[in-house]
């Protein structure tokens, strides 16, 4: 009897587990092995080469693609900083890099008055390395390395039919940290909700 209950229980639970599994929104770019295509669908995916090795934000079947964070850091200076950051893992099981990069942050100087409406004005804006700083954290190393970045918000889409706005940010980036760490062919497609943003 117990075995039967256990079997029926398993039969009921299995479809629930199956339906609860998240899909991995990684669609490979045929021209850049290990990288995703540049999309503007809010797939919450970001890929790049770091010194030639492909990196991606990690995926779990429970939570899907690891989401990024977008937050404004209020400083005592004349400008504040907007941080776009996400965790990264190597996207090639055949490679074993000497250093495991685990986190990437793109820091963008913004005026004190920067608000969500200003974010929409960045649609189609290309920012060069003179105005941005890119940071990459290493595993087991407390101090992040920092360098310059180029950033291009290719498409910013807002879905404002709801009281909570839904922003889709997609773009390109690259970076150079002391000529020893080169971030190339970076692309992201992120989705943010207005109530998760601190500006």
């Amino acid at each position: 009897m117990k075995t039967r209950i256990y079997s029926y229980g398993c039969l009921l639970i299995m479809p629930i587990i199956f339906l609860a599994c998240a899909k991995r929104n990684f669609f490979p770019d045929p021209d850049n092995p290990g990288l995703s295509r540049l999309t503007a669908y809010g797939f919450d995916v970001a890929t790049m080469y770091i010194n030639g090795a492909p990196y991606i934000n990690p995926f779990s079947k429970l939570n899907g693609n690891a989401p990024p964070t977008l937050s404004k850091y209020i400083s005592n200076g004349s400008v504040d900083t907007l941080y776009l950051s996400w965790t990264i893992v190597l996207n090639d099981s055949n490679q074993m890099p000497n250093i495991n990069y685990s986190f990437i942050t793109i820091a963008i100087p913004v005026p004190k008055t920067f608000a969500q409406t200003d974010l929409l004005n960045w649609n189609g804006k290309r920012m060069d390395s003179s105005s941005n700083g890119i940071q990459i954290n290493f595993d087991y190393t407390p101090r992040p390395a920092a360098g310059n970045a180029n950033l291009y918000f290719v498409k910013i889409i807002v879905d404002s039919t709801d009281s909570i706005k839904n922003y889709t940010l997609s773009g390109l980036f690259n970076g150079n940290i002391s000529n020893s760490i080169l971030v190339t062919d970076g692309r992201f497609d992120f989705e943010f909700y207005s109530n998760d943003l601190n500006f």
């Binding site: 045929p30 021209d31 295509r37 997609s170």
Partner: protein, 215 residues
């Protein structure tokens, strides 16, 4: 894999067509328009081969049909972007999409009209077919080193089931014209949004029936 399906069917037809009534091989070609892609419709030159081992006799009105659609390219465009400050930050790339369609179907014949001059009208129903659709996407003058395409199209290649029907009019038994409508593939295209859908060809063809075995 496809051969594994087709071989027993071919054996069946060959076995039962021996010493039976008039047998036909009909070959036709013409023009085809896709009805499933509204924005950028695909056009093809269809080549259709029908094998009617029993003619259109009422007790065994079955036949085999092979269709291959030679594609004309469908044109479209996508935008590409670059971080390189010495280049224009956005360009528009022209793309060509070719949809190759091959279908093998089994059907049966429903005679509708026939007169003394051997002119006849048939409705051919093809409830099951195996169809392969292969889409090749090419971007013209794409500088892959500097530009990245947003929401790009990619090649796809899928085999699945289709269903179709056709109206066939035979002139003096040998010449024919045919209107053929086929469903899109009964398959999921996947989660990535593409600019095109599976092809549902509407073919208008004309051709000739070769009678290779008479009573």
């Amino acid at each position: 894999m496809k051969r594994n399906y087709l071989l027993p069917i071919l054996q069946f037809f060959i076995f039962y067509s021996v010493a039976k009534a008039q047998s036909y091989v009909g070959i036709s070609t013409g023009i085809s328009r896709d009805l499933n892609n509204i924005k950028e419709s695909f056009y093809h030159i269809p080549v259709s081969i029908q094998w009617k081992p029993f003619g259109a006799v009422h007790n065994r009105p079955v036949f085999l049909e092979l269709d291959y659609d030679i594609p004309f390219p469908a044109n479209g465009s996508d935008n590409a972007y670059t971080l390189n400050s010495s280049l224009p930050q956005q360009i528009t790339l022209q793309k060509e999409i070719r949809a190759y369609v091959f279908t093998a179907s089994i059907g049966f014949i429903v005679p509708i009209y026939r007169n003394k001059k051997s002119n006849s009208l048939y409705l051919n129903l093809l409830p099951v077919g195996i169809c392969n659709q292969s889409f090749k996407v090419e971007y013209n003058k794409y500088d892959k080193a500097n530009y990245t395409i947003l929401n790009r199209d990619v090649n796809t290649h899928l085999t699945s089931l289709v269903t179709s029907m056709e109206a066939q009019f035979n002139f003096h038994r040998k010449f024919m014209i045919m209107l053929h409508l086929q469903s899109p593939l009964l398959a999921n295209r996947g989660d990535y949004p593409l600019s095109y859908r599976f092809v549902a060809p509407l073919q208008f063809t004309f051709g000739y029936n070769f009678i290779y075995h008479s009573k």
